[in-house]
Amino acid sequence: MFKKILIANRGEIAIRVMRSCREMGIATVAVYSDCDRLALHVTYADESYHIGPPPSKDSYLAADKIIDAAKKSGAEAIHPGYGFLAENADFAAACETAGLAFIGPPATSIRQMGNKLDARRTMSASGVTVIPGSEGPVASAPEAAGIAREVGLPVMIKAVAGGGGKGLRVVRDAADIDKAVDMTMGEAESAFADGRIYVEKYIENPKHVEIQVLADKHGSTLTLGERECSMQRRYQKVIEEAPSPSVTAETRAALSQAAKKAAQAVGYVGAGTVEFIMAQDGSFYFLEMNTRLQVEHPVTEVVYGVDLVKEQIRIAAGLKLELEQESIRLRGHALEVRIYAEDPHANFMPSTGVIKRLVLPEGPGVRNENGIYPGYTIPIYYDPLIGKVIIWAEDRGTAIRRTRRALQEYQIDGVTTNIEFLLWAISQPGFLDGTYDTHYIERHFKPELLHSDTGELDLAMIAASIAAYGRLNRTNVSRAEEARDNVWRRVARMEGLRKPRL
């Protein structure tokens, strides 16, 4: 087993990884940019190396500096977390070249899954169902129209180089194809300097489900059920759960089979996630594979009773999986809510500042993953995800009620968060009955919906009145004192005037 691991990340995920390391008796090495000198991951680690100025490209994305720090510290392995260099095949390769274990899949697996069109082809060839559409890039509008006829409308025109909801366009009417192809190509050219597009069938009101995979270097690949992540806002996941309320035991088996095939097709090793688009009828299609640990991995951990980070480290160290597919058992239900420093009243504008007070939810079934502490200043350079609350309960209904209880307990001062929005989201009828899809939030959310409790309006008025009363009273007293002082000063001056001149 490794004696020392460098964690090439920051925030909650860096702490998450270090906690598992500590529990395994492995020393931890943090890297940090200028503005992160006092970040929690720096104080939590056994060793900390400064790697540059705040912008990510100069620090957390600077592969050479990170490898350098690993060598200086004597670390034997690098855990990339998620984001930053986690899905960078060149970095994975550079680690191996430098004699450092990369705690993730081989560079080849990352590359094969990194290009969307390539991944589609590999999956298709391996018998994993992909969304019907073009085999490769589509050169012209007529070609696109042909594919649309083949797979049936609606279709989606997608930029090969697109991502994060950019460079895609839905076409519902055959007459609109020409224009959509033109526009997407133009956009893709200017946004990604790569005008290539492809065509896929558009799945209406889809659900996002994903299968957790673990594979070791000895040929074992196993799956740990699904997570549903359809509560999204602008392609950003907001709430995740395991198991999915829409996945039956049969579908779970089929999804798991497909995920296993997908992972094996690229020689996958480590922890990874195969994402699927699931239609309302339960049919599902390969979407992509995330070749790393997911933000939402804890929901799987709590229902299956595993520690995915420890498994990652064990796998990277060459150990065989001790888990067996047959003995893995789902218990209860888990939810994760993501706490973002952003203002749901102001178009989710990110918020920064000093955390003045922080009281986390606690008690039965509550797990917190955080990268902040009271007194910490949230910098402007990185992701606004400041924490996650993971809830476990015997069943989904209890888990939802427990999540509400936890969000109500959350006290964070100094920055604005999306907690109100999360309370709204977990109370939605479409969430409660499990029918929600990836467009649910954009269809239903309006900031005006956040304020609705009339009893609370009175209470807010009373509290604010008392708060203002105390402050105004003090201010008025000091104004009065000042005024009195002024009177005295004036009196003194007058007395001075009255004094007989010497």
């Binding site: 402007i380 606004p384 604005t416 309370l423 807010a460 509290a463 604010a464 708060a467 203002a468 009363y469």
Partner: protein, 173 residues
Amino acid sequence: MKLWVRIEAQEKLVEVSERDGIYSVTLDGDTRLVDCRSAGHRDYLSLIIDNKSHLVECAPISFEDGRYYANISGRRYDVEVLDERLFATRQATAVVKDMGPYVIASPMPGLILDVRVKIGDPVKAGSAVVIMEAMKMQNELVSEIDGVVKAINIKANDAVESQTPLVEIERTE
């Protein structure tokens, strides 16, 4: 003390007095005795009213403007509380505010990515004027009014602090 209290669309006159830590609060002609104390931190108020217990995080956003927020079980309310002096000030400045130049300021520290207007450009309410990046996200700063760009204080790639005036827009009628 007489207070003008506004929350969401409602404005009410509230009467507050205090004796031995128990507040008498009159709202809508209804007087309630409120046992109110700070719980561990000045901004966290524990209120017991008719034996109902409430924990409210409440503090001024801007004391001089009488702007407060109250956070109840994760929900945040903005409340305006004015005493006679502040009420008079508001009455006097309300008119002026609607007449002066309109300034778009940075809501948070960040990096200016793009300025979408030039001096003299006409601007429609709701249109994006400046794109700024903060915390890995691009944010559009939009004009709330129709007008003409009068001044631009920044350019692309400038790093700005919170509340920096970025673009000034002159109202068109």
